[in-house]
Amino acid sequence: MNISDIINPANLVYQKTKVMNDTPMHYCPGCSHGVVHKLIGEIIEEMDIQDKTIGIAPVGCAVLAYNFIDIDWQQAAHGRAPALATAVKRLLPDRYVFTYQGDGDLAAIGTAETIHACNRGENITIIFINNGIYGMTGGQMAPTTLKGMKSSTSPHGREVPINGYPLNISNLLAQMEGVCYVTRQSVHTMGSVRKAKKAIQKGFENSMLNKGTSIIEIVSTCSAGWKMTPAESNNWMVENMFPEYPMGDLKNI
């Protein structure tokens, strides 16, 4: 047997989705963004909706999402992705429109746009990356930063009397009548990746069923911002983030 017998299309069991291009990723080792990008690419390919999908990129580490996923994109001002998505979906109702937002983008500066898009029941899919930190700007405190968690702007740990509480925005959004699906997932194990993929796909499918807004929160790691190795980050996330942001569906109509 030589190598061409092995590398043969008949033996192919898995390959990189064509919706992901070959641009080298700028994400840090251990970061969840790359996996979530790949899942979105796979879902778009499998649903055969590349020509019907418009992504809205945030401000934050994923600002360059359009460099990796081969679809039409609009890059939004910080926090405004749900407003853009609202207009895109209303004017192009037969398209799949999703936003990809971090915790600072979605739950701090863009809280109003997020809540009101959800309250109107916009038929969009919101992918919400929650790593409890502002990654792009160098690890500052986010609305979802845990109590006592250190960041560059809470160097002694988040103190409730000064900074308030971690904002569990998915719980808030799950209460809204315009929202049909809220789920909290992660991508730190093979099993969790598969579950997250199903959740994202469901969110995409919901957007064509006129049921309202779908939110898929991915509790994520930021090893650079957390100043840990990728393996340490995964463990830290399970031990510290999951108790505050438990896995599973919060709403599924």
Binding site: D51, D72, Q75, A77, R80, A87, R90, A112
Partner: protein, 366 residues
């Protein structure tokens, strides 16, 4: 309906904007209530164009959301617009800068009220600087049209869309509370259908309508991480602004050929000063009037043409003296340029302007 018959109707300026938007094939309106322009959103929701032309009308949660909805719609090559009044426009400036940076066409109407701060709901022209000098961050310009009648509120809505798409730039109609609120006869523009998706693809090959297999992804974006790329984008924008300055200056002049003094005024002040010109001429003072219609591009050369021939110019503005700076730049020291204005929502009267003219130029002999 007989399309050839002119439809004359009596409307408020704000209502005229709403009717004209529907008629000129606007795809989406996104707005938030604020006095003195709420009739635009009210008229649109009353007319329910989503049942006729398919135009989307949405009351947003804020001006911040409105302008970003406009961004989303414009990014799809759609004809999108928003309207507001001064404090609301301040909230939109971030979005306007992004629209300019992303080279997106859209129409923004500012029915100005007195400021600063929450100010007053009475008419003002105090957002001149904000509109023509940038307002938001970064080096950008907006084509700025200054209507002086209800008819122009309708006409400029159509024109603003055409200019926005011609130059891929946000375009502003800078009106004021009087133009928005007053009622006049108006001939509404003829109906033109909203563009089909195929037409949009042809006119706007950059639009995010979904990536077919045979083209690269379209990305609507103002981010350039490399400084050299960012400078390139700036140079492109600047070259477009120079082209706009060359091609799109619009102005009107009255009685300037023999004038000793020229009043320069825009919007409602130009209407008021037409009367001032009559009053002055009745007293034997040869006064003319130049009305800039485009505030950017400013009619610099057209004003400069008279700089050697007059004894002085007077700008009349409902602000603390903003356009006066551009008129001074236009004449470049060749003649004296004075300013007269009222602030905070006060509208000057024609005779008051004549007194100001006589006071400023004490050498006037009638």
């Amino acid at each position: 309906m007989n399309q050839h018959k002119k439809e004359i109707t009596l409307l408020k300026g704000n209502e005229a904007v709403a009717h004209a938007a529907i008629r000129c094939g606007c795809d989406g309106y996104f707005g938030y209530p604020i006095t003195p322009q709420s009739e635009i959103l009210e008229t649109l929701t009353e007319l329910e164009p989503w049942k006729t032309t398919g135009m989307v009308v949405l009351q947003a949660e804020s001006e911040v959301a409105s302008i970003n909805m406009v961004y989303g719609a414009a990014g799809c090559g759609k004809r999108a617009m928003t309207t507001s009044s001064s404090p609301g426009i301040s909230l939109m400036l971030e979005g306007i800068s992004y629209l300019a940076g992303a080279q997106l066409p859209c129409v923004i109407v500012n029915v100005m009220r007195g400021g600063p701060g929450l100010g007053t709901i009475q008419p003002s022209q105090a957002d001149y600087f904000q509109a023509v000098k940038g307002g938001g961050h970064g080096d950008y310009k907006m084509i700025t049209l200054a209507p002086a009648s209800v008819q122009e509120m309708a006409d400029f809505t159509v024109l603003a869309f055409d200019l926005a798409f011609k130059y891929l730039t946000p375009t502003m109609i800078l009106a004021d509370g009087i133009i928005g609120q007053m009622m006049e006869k108006v001939v509404l523009p003829p109906y033109q259908p909203r563009r089909t998706e195929d037409e949009i693809k042809k006119e706007c090959p950059w639009a995010t309508l979904g990536k077919p297999a045979d083209r690269k992804p379209n990305v609507i974006n103002s981010l350039r991480l490399e400084a050299a790329d960012m400078e390139k984008l700036n140079l492109l924008l600047q070259s477009r602004y120079r082209e706009i300055e060359k091609e799109e200056v619009r102005f009107e002049e009255f009685d300037c050929e023999d004038a000793d003094y020229i009043i320069v005024a825009f919007g409602i002040c130009a209407r008021i000063c037409q009367k001032t010109v009559q009053l002055a001429r009745a007293e034997g003072i040869k006064v003319g009037l130049i009305r800039p219609i485009t505030l950017f591009p400013f009619p610099t050369k057209q004003i400069n043409r008279y700089a050697d021939r007059v004894k002085g110019m007077l700008t009349v503005e409902m602000n603390a003296g903003q356009m006066v700076e551009d008129v001074r730049l236009a004449v470049n020291g060749k003649t004296i340029v004075e300013y007269y204005g009222r602030m905070g929502g006060i509208v000057p009267a024609p005779d008051e302007v004549l007194i100001a003219l006589k006071t400023k130029f004490s050498n006037i002999e009638s």
